[in-house]
């Protein structure tokens, strides 16, 4: 008993191998762009969250002052300020360690680096920074309050630009894929000219013919999209794995930003799985529009 009807358009007669390979590469690049977009957004979000939770008070080592006294004064002011949850004075060694990734370990002892106070803020009710800065400056010598506002703005701007770039890449990949599919559809129609003629002679309408040919493009979009997605996920896993064994001088934050995409959540995976689906829709859609246009005009 026959279970499945043979395709009217022979898979062998519409060779779409080169289009399939190209589409796989396109989908691979699209997955990397999506992963990049997610990575940037996640990194910016994490950094922003970290920066908004803390402010830093710097006390410069000026001549003729006892820096420890100035630190105590600053600490006292901070502890009395509402909206401050925790005040932690970093010793000189901790301050030097922060510079190590950029300057190395040797030769730092003689640098006149400022002492730092890490201040944890109640995000729900932050202090009045202007008033706090005024009070600190009036009572502590060589003091500066860094609310990280400039960094956060810069970060948000850079994140937005990177996201826009990733979206632009995705749009370009989509346009290129649809153009390729249109060329493929034209070639498939040319290859199947005789079949199309017979179909027309037995009364097939253009949408039936387009539908029969388009099945190949739908399958192609799904297969190429899935392959591209699988290769991209493997690459991201390898990237993440290489990050874990990296012994380079990167800070934890930078390492996290570069390699955190390997820590796939279901949400990330869901976004990546959208790529094969969208690939199939775009490819089949572009192919169908092209086929209908060509069939209507022939």
């Amino acid at each position: 008993m026959r279970e499945q009807r043979a395709p009217i358009i022979s898979p062998r007669s519409a060779s779409l191998l080169s289009l399939g390979v190209t589409m796989t590469v396109m989908c691979y690049l699209a997955c990397l762009a999506v992963a990049g977009l997610l990575l940037i957004n996640r990194a910016v979000e994490n950094w922003d969250k970290g920066l908004s939770r803390e402010v830093t008070v710097q006390v410069q080592q000026l001549s003729a002052i006892d820096i420890e006294d100035e630190l105590k004064k600053a600490t006292a002011i901070l502890q009395q300020t509402s909206g401050v949850l925790k005040v932690e004075v970093l010793d000189r060694a901790q301050g030097l360690r922060l510079l190590e990734p950029w300057l190395g370990k040797s030769g730092l002892e003689d640098l006149p680096i400022p002492r730092l106070i890490r201040v944890t803020i109640d995000e729900a009710a932050p202090p009045d920074y202007q008033a706090l800065q005024g009070e600190l400056e009036s009572k502590v010598k060589g003091v500066a309050l860094d609310t990280h506002g400039r960094w956060r703005d810069e970060l948000a701007r850079a994140g937005a630009k990177m996201s826009a770039l990733a979206i632009a890449i995705l749009v370009l990949i989509s346009v290129a894929s649809m153009t390729l599919a249109a060329f493929g559809a034209r070639a498939a129609l040319e290859t199947n000219r005789e079949v199309v003629e017979v179909l027309r002679l037995v009364g097939a309408e253009n949408r039936f013919i387009a539908g029969e040919i388009n099945r190949r493009f739908l399958a192609l979009g799904l297969v190429a999209g899935s392959l591209g997605c699988i290769i991209a996920v493997l690459c991201l896993l390898v990237l993440g794995w290489s990050g874990q064994i990296s012994t380079g001088p990167l800070t934890n934050g930078t390492t996290t930003m570069l390699y955190s995409v390997s820590n796939f959540g279901w949400q990330t995976l869901a976004y990546l799985l959208l790529v094969p689906l969208l690939s199939a829709i775009f490819v089949a859609g572009a192919a169908r529009v092209t086929l209908m246009r060509l069939l209507e005009s022939s």
Binding site: R5, A6, I8, E194, V198, V202, G203, F208, E296
Partner: protein
């Protein structure tokens, strides 16, 4: 069913292929179209199955003026017709069964609905044992029978056949003519193009004779 009035046909700037062809084929009639090679039989059939438009004159099919037909209306009219082509036009990647079933698939029928009809028809043309074979493995006569089965499977209102018995032996030719006659009894209008005079003489049907593009009617 078919009305041709002063139909002319030229290919480009070439000679006149059909010269003022005028004829009528009423519903339920069965006729032969004959003439020497190059007389214009195939061109006339191409006009009749709407693959060509006449250069001049009027052609009415199923009551519609084909000169006013839009391209979108053509498939619907073609589904009312069955056509047997001289060169068979079978799809080589489809089995005999799938080739015969093609008009049913195009018309949107499910396989369960047409399976028995297709098998019965293939049995009638002596090819039931070949239904899973591909056209490339068939002889010319077998291909012709598949083409005929495909043309009649949807029980068309009009059947046009170009040399439908050209590649089969006399016995099979008689059998196929009987199939056409059975279809005709069921109401299908049939026009058979052939230059097999013996076949025409045996069938005793009205004949259109085409010679150098001029059509005359033998009673």
């Amino acid at each position: 069913m078919i009305e041709l009035d002063a139909v002319k046909l030229f290919y480009g700037h070439g000679p006149e292929v059909l010269k003022d062809v005028t004829c009528t084929i009423g519903q339920g009639e069965m006729r032969f179209l004959t003439g020497p090679s190059g007389a214009g039989k195939s061109s006339l059939l191409r006009i009749l199955f709407l693959a060509l438009r006449p250069t001049a004159g009027h052609f009415r099919l199923f009551g519609s003026d084909t000169g006013k037909l839009t391209e979108r209306a053509v498939p619907g009219l073609r589904r009312k017709m069955g056509v047997v082509f001289q060169d068979f036009r079978l799809l080589s990647h489809l089995t005999v069964f799938d080739n015969v079933a093609l008009p049913m698939r195009v018309a949107g029928h499910s396989e369960s609905k047409y399976r028995l009809d297709v098998e019965e028809l293939l049995d009638w043309v002596g090819l039931k044992s070949r239904l899973a074979d591909y056209p490339d493995t068939l002889s010319g006569g077998e291909k012709q029978r598949v083409a005929i089965a495909r043309a009649v499977v949807a029980k068309p209102q009009l059947l046009l056949a170009d040399e439908p018995t050209g590649s089969v032996d006399t016995q099979m030719a008689k059998r196929l003519i009987r199939l056409f006659e059975e279809l005709n009894k069921l109401g299908t209008t049939i026009l058979l193009a052939t230059h097999d005079e013996k076949l025409i003489a045996r069938a005793r049907l009205p004949v259109f004779r085409l010679d150098s593009g001029v059509l005359r009617v033998d009673p």
